[in-house]
């Protein structure tokens, strides 16, 4: 062996065990820590809530403890027919969101795929995006009354503009080379759209839907609080009249849980449908 390629004796490393540190920029932590920390924040929250309720900083009627809220939740379901309200709310979100998707998905894809379609719709969509949906409530109440149509309309205009914009952006991000690959293999415009643009954008479209479904829940409560005879928000406004703070809090709890469940379902759908992706993003 030549001098230049002589191997050097390995130096003994002092301590090769990686130290686990709590605060390390962007480095991963063990799964058990993640779970413990995730549970800990909730325990802390309920503890502070309970202590605040006991301490008497507010009258007990305005700040019931977690135990009282859970009891109220049980009573609501068991005796007050709350399940009906929940179903009405879920139906309103699902139906209005399906309508919004039926418009936004094809329109967003076409806007992202063709500059001409974008040039036509984009100034219109962008303008509407800056109008807060709740500002339409007085108008919607006059047009549709206090019934379902008004709620559905508010939920629809609350998400549609953002949904269109997000879907158009995700479609625009489809790599040009994927499109050109299909084109140079003889793909027609329609074939390229159907076999490349749509499947390439679809995973991100589902993510956009997940994000906007969460927004839809926000508008649902606004719609039901302003005027409704059924739904979770309506129950909460009834409870306010009778100073049932525990029921109002139970309503908040249910809305949060439903939001979580929907988010989880769409996340699971995404993972199942797009197993071919590198990793879940």
């Amino acid at each position: 062996m030549t001098q230049a390629l002589r191997t050097l004796p390995a130096t003994r490393a002092k301590d090769t065990r990686p130290k686990l540190r709590i605060f390390e920029f962007k480095s991963d932590i063990p799964a058990s820590w993640r779970l413990t920390l995730g549970v800990a924040v909730w325990i802390l929250f309920f503890a502070i809530w309970q202590i605040a309720a006991w301490s008497g900083v507010m009258p007990a009627i305005l700040l019931p403890g977690p135990g009282k809220v859970l009891t109220a939740l049980y009573t609501l379901f068991a005796e007050n027919g709350f399940l009906g309200d929940v179903m009405v709310s879920v139906w309103r979100v699902m139906f209005s969101f399906a309508l919004a998707c039926a418009v936004a998905v094809p329109l967003g894809i076409l806007m992202g795929a063709f500059k001409s379609v974008e040039a036509f719709f984009s100034p219109f969509v962008s303008a509407w995006r800056y109008l807060p949906a709740p500002s339409f409530i007085p108008l919607l109440l006059m047009w549709f009354g206090a019934g379902d149509a008004q709620k559905l309309a508010l939920l629809f205009i609350g998400v549609i503009w953002f949904l269109i914009t997000l879907i158009a952006d995700h479609t625009k991000a489809v790599p040009k080379d994927l499109i050109n690959t299909s084109v140079t293999l003889g793909g027609s415009r329609w074939q390229v759209l159907r076999t490349v643009v749509v499947p390439a954008a679809l995973p991100n479209i589902v993510i956009a839907m997940r994000q906007m479904l969460a927004v839809s829940w926000t508008y649902l409560v606004i719609a039901e609080i302003t005027a409704a005879d059924a739904g979770i928000g309506a129950m909460m406004m009834r409870a306010k009249r009778f100073l049932h703070v525990d029921q109002i809090m139970a309503g908040i709890l249910v809305i949060g849980l439903l939001g979580l469940i929907f988010d989880y379902l769409l996340r699971a759908l995404h993972r199942r449908a797009f197993q071919y992706l590198d990793e879940y993003s």
């Binding site: 790599p175 080379d177 994927l178 050109n180 690959t181 299909s182 084109v183 140079t184 293999l185 003889g186 793909g187 074939q191 076999t195 490349v196 499947p199 390439a200 797009f274 197993q275 071919y276 992706l277 590198d278």
Partner: protein
């Protein structure tokens, strides 16, 4: 030679419009590619070689000049001019087999024939074991092999390759280059390939079309006479060939001359 011409490029100019009046990418470029030939477009960066390939593919239109394939004028992209890109273009939602079948399916070939053709070309690029895998499980070199098989399965009259191995590491690149020569030998394909890698150009090319930069013009066409009649299967075969060092030096000087002009300008 003239009779076997498959692709003809005549007086092609391309100026990209910009606010300040336009950038001239190609000026009066003419060359032709013969049937079953591997022709390499080589030149320094900014010589417009990728633009020229895109024009042949029909993805760009020339500002002036004419192009024809088998005597038919080229207007827009078509199946007869299949292209392999530098970026990985395997469709991630399709398996290897589905990817290779993709183009054949677009063109309405019945299922049985489609399957048979796809499997043949998957075998040719040594991916039979991975026919049911999704691209996420494949390495960069394997993804490029999928792209090559997909284009070949579509039976193009000429295969266009835009720096197909540019993103691969050195060792993978050798294997891919050797495999491409193997495919050339067994399938009677005509290839027009863009690269900036001098050794790759010499190894693969029957003929090198050398472009100079700013704007891209035809500098010279190099016939690689020292390779004629020699059996070259590996990189080692090439570097041992007499005439190789001289050829490499000549092209290096062409490249360097270009770089020098750039500095002087």
């Amino acid at each position: 030679m003239q009779s076997s011409t498959i692709l003809s490029v005549q007086n092609v100019c391309k100026t990209f419009p910009t606010r300040g009046g336009g950038v001239e990418a190609l000026r009066d470029v003419s060359f032709s590619v013969a049937r079953n030939e591997l022709c390499v477009l080589l030149g320094p960066s900014g010589c417009g070689k990728s633009t020229l390939l895109n024009i042949v593919a029909g993805l760009h239109t020339p500002t002036s000049g004419t192009l024809s394939l088998e005597g038919r004028p080229i207007h827009g992209p078509a199946r007869e001019r299949g292209m392999v890109f530098q970026s990985y273009t395997s469709f991630p939602w399709l398996t290897v087999l589905e990817n290779v079948e993709y183009g054949v399916k677009l063109n309405g070939i019945p299922k049985a024939e489609r399957r048979e053709r796809a499997l043949h070309y998957i075998g040719l690029v040594h991916l039979t074991k991975f026919r049911d895998s999704y691209p996420k499980t494949l390495s960069g070199g394997m993804k490029q092999r999928v792209a090559i098989a997909r284009t070949l399965a579509n039976a193009p009259e000429i295969l266009l390759m835009d720096e197909p191995y540019g993103a691969l590491d050195a060792e993978t690149r050798w294997h891919m280059q050797e495999m491409l020569l193997d495919i050339m030998r067994t399938t009677q394909t005509t290839i027009l390939l863009v690269t900036h890698d001098i050794q790759e150009a010499i190894f693969l090319a029957d003929r090198i079309v050398f472009l100079s930069a700013h704007p891209g013009r035809l500098k010279t066409i190099l016939e690689l006479d020292f390779k004629k009649g020699k059996e070259i299967r590996s990189k080692e075969d090439l570097v041992e060939l007499s005439g190789y060092p001289e050829c490499e030096r000549e092209i290096m000087q062409l490249m360097r001359g270009e770089a020098k002009q750039e500095e002087d300008a």
